[in-house]
Symmetry: C2
Subunit: 348 residues, 2 copies
């Protein structure tokens, strides 16, 4: 190991006591700002930042912020992270990322590892795991580490969140299919213990009921957002006595399965069956048969989550508050659902 | 803050001295393995892991490993990370991820932040930034933090790497285009200060020369792996007096630009122009007009990089060694380059 600069080295350099250096570095109000400036400059010059960890132990500041997502390989989450980074880097924070792969066990490990790395805050979208009570969230709160949820959240006192209006997004998507003349709209749902999937289901249901269509439980299935699971469920739908004439999926990945399976059955999209996804992943746009989807403004979501974190850091720790920001989704209409060309908003 | 378990609490619980507890936790050879076991069990029971950071300061072990990639939103890098995680989690390590967005300044910040978080090692693919000398790599080495490069590497003494044979991948891709009857093959290259792009260029060039075709510098352009940059370059190619009859791109993202631009010009793929990409990103498979690409076994690359890290950790710090693993790429032939159906290996 290389020799580390200590507060004693800085004290010697400046001909002041180590205690003064320590107080200055910890931003003690008893130390003049001139001295503080001098100490910070000298510390920087002497590479004292290499000892930030020791400093973090004392001051509780590491300037690292942890971001936990179910997966990094979805454009939605990587865009949220980009938004977070764009907001936090200029504020002097660094972003470290962990993924849960939707496993609660990994989620707990992520939180513990980030706590051990002394992060100043955690911005996260919870996993789709067992969702049983675990005390990881509480450990963050007990340690006064700000926790902000985005997209997938849990109701916890004093925890802020940034989400989109999933109910409304699903309602718009379903209403659009009804406007296209669809009468039997199936829904590829996901674990409805998670609020986002529950709300997308409820928005779909409400649009069906508001427009006098038959609400058929057989046309709804809770599946994981995986291409293969999507295909087998859509296969079952297509082989029903009264198959659906549209599929609204709570995920673009299973919307893609639907497209593949419908084609494999020799049916035409949108003529025979319309398909709508959720998230506006780039592939929905790039495909020859582009897929209608609901945009969730992920970068905006990340930026706002970061802003909420920065506000919480500024606030006194004695003030407990929570803020809930809900963004408005946008339906992006493409080929996969456009049977009738009356819709002027269509982007093909 | 909740009250933390200290070594004094453990000492009291076991009726031994705090010094003994400390020595046991630091794996001091003077302490019997029976005592060590007892101390570790009690520490675990009393949630002593919450103080891992303090322990890390003493023992130099955090069990966090940092992974630095240019971007997380490419399937290639997210798959490498998956491979790393699958290998490191069972070994008791946790993975934290940072992205550079191909900016050297962020790369330096990433390394510093990971050092401050006391990671036990860094596995990274270097950025495509200025690539000037910076001392971040050296700081890792000075601190004896194992550094392993994957995919994009720099030649540094005692630093191991896992790459694929980019020269051969590019050679195979270009040879395949020649076998399809293409005679003027353009190449979308990227910053050739990076070894991977230099080697892909050299493999392309060698295949052209080995097969008696004209090597034309005008058909080669160094561009960033971005869709818009790709399109303007391909536009230029298509408007040449002697336009190319094939495009070999060192990135799937710019291969996608090529497909879009060629279609916008009313030309047919593969009949008029063949297109081959590099990386085998999932969209190359999902597209209606699937794109031929070179697979780089990213998950395998991640697993091997993790194994090399685990070996280095096991080795005595006095042994300096480096290991260079080179994987074999695989050409995946799809519609975008298959003019002649003689090739039996075609996967459409």
């Amino acid at each position: 190991m290389s020799k580390k600069t200590t507060i004693y080295d800085i004290a010697k350099e400046l001909n002041i006591t180590a205690a003064t250096v320590s107080r200055a570095l910890n931003n003690n109000p008893k130390i003049s700002s001139k001295t503080k400036e001098l100490v910070f400059e000298t510390a920087k010059k002497m590479n004292y930042e290499q000892n930030k960890l020791a400093l973090a132990l004392k001051s509780g500041k590491s300037y690292n912020v942890g971001v936990i997502v179910p997966r990094i390989d979805s454009n939605f989450f990587s865009s949220v992270i980009r938004g977070i980074e764009e907001e936090l880097y200029p504020a002097g924070y660094h972003v470290i990322i962990c993924q849960t792969h939707d496993q609660e066990e990994l989620e707990i490990k992520n939180i513990n590892s980030l706590l051990n790395a002394q992060v100043d805050g955690v911005l996260m979208s919870i996993s789709n795991g067992k969702l049983e009570e675990n005390d990881s969230f509480n450990r963050l709160l007990e340690k006064n580490v700000p926790l902000i949820f985005f997209d997938r959240k849990k109701e916890i006192n004093n925890v802020s969140s940034v989400t989109i209006d999933d109910f409304n997004g699903a309602y718009m998507a379903t209403k659009h299919l009804i406007d296209q003349g669809c009468k039997r709209i199936a829904h590829l749902s996901n674990n409805r213990k998670l609020e986002i999937f529950r709300n997308r289901y409820l928005g779909y249901k409400q649009a069906i009921l508001d427009n006098g269509l038959e609400f058929d439980e057989n046309l709804i299935e809770e599946i994981q957002s995986k291409v293969l699971e999507g295909r087998s469920t859509v296969k079952r739908f297509l082989e029903m006595d009264r198959p659906p004439d549209a599929i609204f999926s709570s995920s673009d990945f299973t919307a893609l399965s639907a497209v593949q399976e419908i084609k494999a059955h020799g049916l035409k999209i949108p003529e025979d069956i319309c398909v709508v996804g959720f998230s506006n992943e780039p592939f929905t746009r790039f495909m020859e048969l582009s897929i209608t989807s609901v945009d969730q403004s992920p970068k905006e979501m990340g930026k706002i989550a970061a802003q909420v974190f920065l506000e919480e850091v500024k606030n006194s720790k004695k003030i407990k508050s929570e803020k809930h920001v809900v963004l408005t989704p946008e339906l992006i209409i493409r080929k996969s659902s456009l049977k009738i060309l009356k819709n002027k908003k269509a982007k093909i």
